[in-house]
């Protein structure tokens, strides 16, 4: 970072099925609580960046930048960022670029998704927009299907048993019990995971993050200081289709973003005390841990089978908190900041990817 960027305000709605709330209502609630927690006032916000993927598909609503700006008294300039499930990270990255360039001094970043208004089949088809529409979608694949392929291959290559994989979702649910913003604040025993309905073999329903409504907002500033600072913001990309990659049991974008983020923050991965990683499906958590270098290939599951010094998805992750697509990347940063404030750790990391990690965004937060 050329200039120190501070995380001055954070706010989110509970991730849940909000039948009575629209995109605008969700944004409003999260923006209000972000402003309330910030050092600055609403009028100090110079720009708004909105992250959203499915506005057109699920709510017939585009043009969300202006919609978010209209919730502020002075209608600041606004724009929208979209990169499927990584929209949140891309919006944060955009905000960092605006702040570093001096174009703005205080930026509001809002991630919002409204998913429960349309039928699950339509949402599944809409989410396939994150994959290659001409290569992957015509076969009838869904995102659980893509990760089913990845999981089947991973389990084949590394002889991972279905029973061991159960620990991932079980741990996430256990972590979410104390998180009031989580969609499912409920412990689920490991053996129930593989006993749930099959979605895309070998993945079961409880391996998959749910469909959720929700919004999360942060206020980043170079002007208003706070103890939490963005130490690194990095993006990396890969092919949209998993068929165009040499391997599907490792995500190159995560590796690239991680390398660049550690370099930018000038820290070692052992300095990191908390991570929030993108566990859209249980298998993705293992692959992400391995690609970020916290475990050797094939051994990611070991981190879920014992207690570690570094916390992993203490919030409950996407599995238990819910996964309102574009809000997730921003919610992860909020959770990491909360964890840093509570513990004595200095560094925390948010790992957010879109599609099958075709876009990966990594943010490192540092506590003064």
């Amino acid at each position: 970072m050329n200039t120190p960027i501070y995380l001055t305000g954070t706010g989110q709605t509970r991730f849940a099925e909000h039948w009575d709330m629209s995109i605008k209502d969700l944004m409003e609630e999260s923006i209000d609580s972000a402003i309330e927690s910030a050092e600055c006032t609403a009028l100090d916000i110079d720009m708004v960046v909105v992250a959203n993927m499915l506005g057109e598909v699920a709510s017939d609503q585009a043009h969300l930048g202006a919609m978010a700006a209209s919730l502020l008294p002075h209608h600041p300039p606004a724009l929208r960022a979209e990169a499927a499930c990584a929209s949140g990270a891309v919006a944060l990255h955009t905000a960092c670029a605006l702040l570093e360039s001096g174009k703005a001094q205080t930026v509001l970043v809002v991630g919002v998704e409204k998913m429960t208004d349309i039928a699950p089949g339509k949402i599944a088809a809409g989410l396939m927009g994150a994959a290659d529409a001409q290569k992957d979608a015509p076969s009838g694949l869904t995102f659980p299907g893509i990760f089913g392929l990845i999981a089947a291959r991973y389990m084949h290559e590394y002889s991972l048993s279905r029973d061991r994989l159960n620990h991932v979702s079980a741990r996430h649910h256990k972590n979410a019990v104390s998180n009031p913003f989580a969609q499912f604040c409920k412990e689920i025993p490991a053996e129930s995971i593989s006993a749930s309905a099959k979605v895309a073999d070998p993945l079961c329903m409880l391996d998959c993050s749910p469909i959720s409504d929700g919004a999360a907002s942060v206020i980043l500033s170079t002007k208003f200081e706070s103890p939490i600072r963005i130490a690194a913001s990095q993006l990396a990309t890969d092919t949209l289709s998993i068929a165009d990659r040499p391997t599907i049991t490792s995500f190159a974008a995560t590796k690239d973003a991680m390398r660049a983020a550690l370099e930018e923050a000038e820290i070692d991965r052992t300095d990191i005390g908390h991570i929030e990683l993108h566990d859209c499906f249980s298998i993705a958590a293992l692959i992400s841990l391995e690609d970020m270098g916290f475990a050797n290939p094939g051994e990611g599951i070991a981190l879920y089978e014992k207690e570690n010094k570094m916390t992993i998805n203490q919030s409950g992750g996407l599995k238990a908190c819910g996964h309102p697509v574009a809000a997730t990347g921003i919610k992860q940063v909020i959770d990491v900041s909360k964890q840093l404030k509570e513990s004595k750790s200095r560094h925390g990391l948010a790992h957010n990817f879109g599609g099958a990690a075709a876009t990966c965004g990594i943010h490192i937060l540092s506590h003064a």
């Binding site: 599944a124 015509p138 009838g140 694949l141 869904t142 392929l149 291959r153 389990m155 073999d201 998993i242």
Partner: protein, 305 residues
Amino acid sequence: MRNTPAANHRAQKDLQNKLQEGTILSHTIVRHPPEGFPTKPRVIGLIELEDGSRVTAQLIANCQLPTAIGMKVIPKMRLSRVNAQGLRTYDIAYEVPLQKPVKEEFPGYILALTGPSGVGKTTVSLLLSAKVGNCERVPILTTRKVKEGDQDEYTHVSPEEFLALKNDGKLATFTSIPSRDEKRLYGYRSEDIEKIWKEKKIPVIITEMNLLQGLASHYGRRSILSCGLLPPGKSKRQMLSALLHRLRDRGRDTEQQIEDRLKNAEADLAFFKDRKELFDDLIVNDDVDIVVGQLGGLVLERVKA
């Protein structure tokens, strides 16, 4: 997936490239396919094709996880989905080939004559054996009772003997044709056919739909010179009437049996049309000598080639 004609057209540009054999890298069963696809679970695989490129596509086979990884697949054109306007989209799916025992070497040609009762199959086959040097009729194994007027074409066996032969796998093909008073089994012994091949001759076999299909799957379709014999006549009605007269002239059957045979004949005539791929030639039996000449020519042509 909007599934519009233009989007389909673009998506299918690389169809030609997908027409390759490949290996399954991974596979899954999508239990809830997205909107626009049939709702039943869909098996989808990530396939590495022979040229090294990879595709995701539907798999045809009931794969058991995780055993299908590494299996070879072959491309097949399949109906993928139908959109709301009724546009049918076909796409390449990959099939795990069944492990069928494929006869590796080409055993030789068999001349198979198919046709309705009374069309003259037996007469033609007898004449072929007599006049064309390298043809020999294969005796039909049957459990039916000896009847007056049989032209020495059957080898009679008891039903028990027949079943024993069948269970020992000694029959190349067999069928059961029920009649009013008995259940008749017909078949051919592999040993009879292979003996004729050893003498460098072509076996001539009289078949009907089940016998022909059995023979084709036993020796392979390309071993069979399959000819359908049609009664003379421009319409089905005329053909059936020609058969009726011949059966009456033959005087072997009662009027009741003739009626049954004519009913079967209708099915036989339909079979020529429905299973065209099982026949190399359809010949009208107007004059027996011409038919024998034609068949003799066909045999010579094949044997030379």
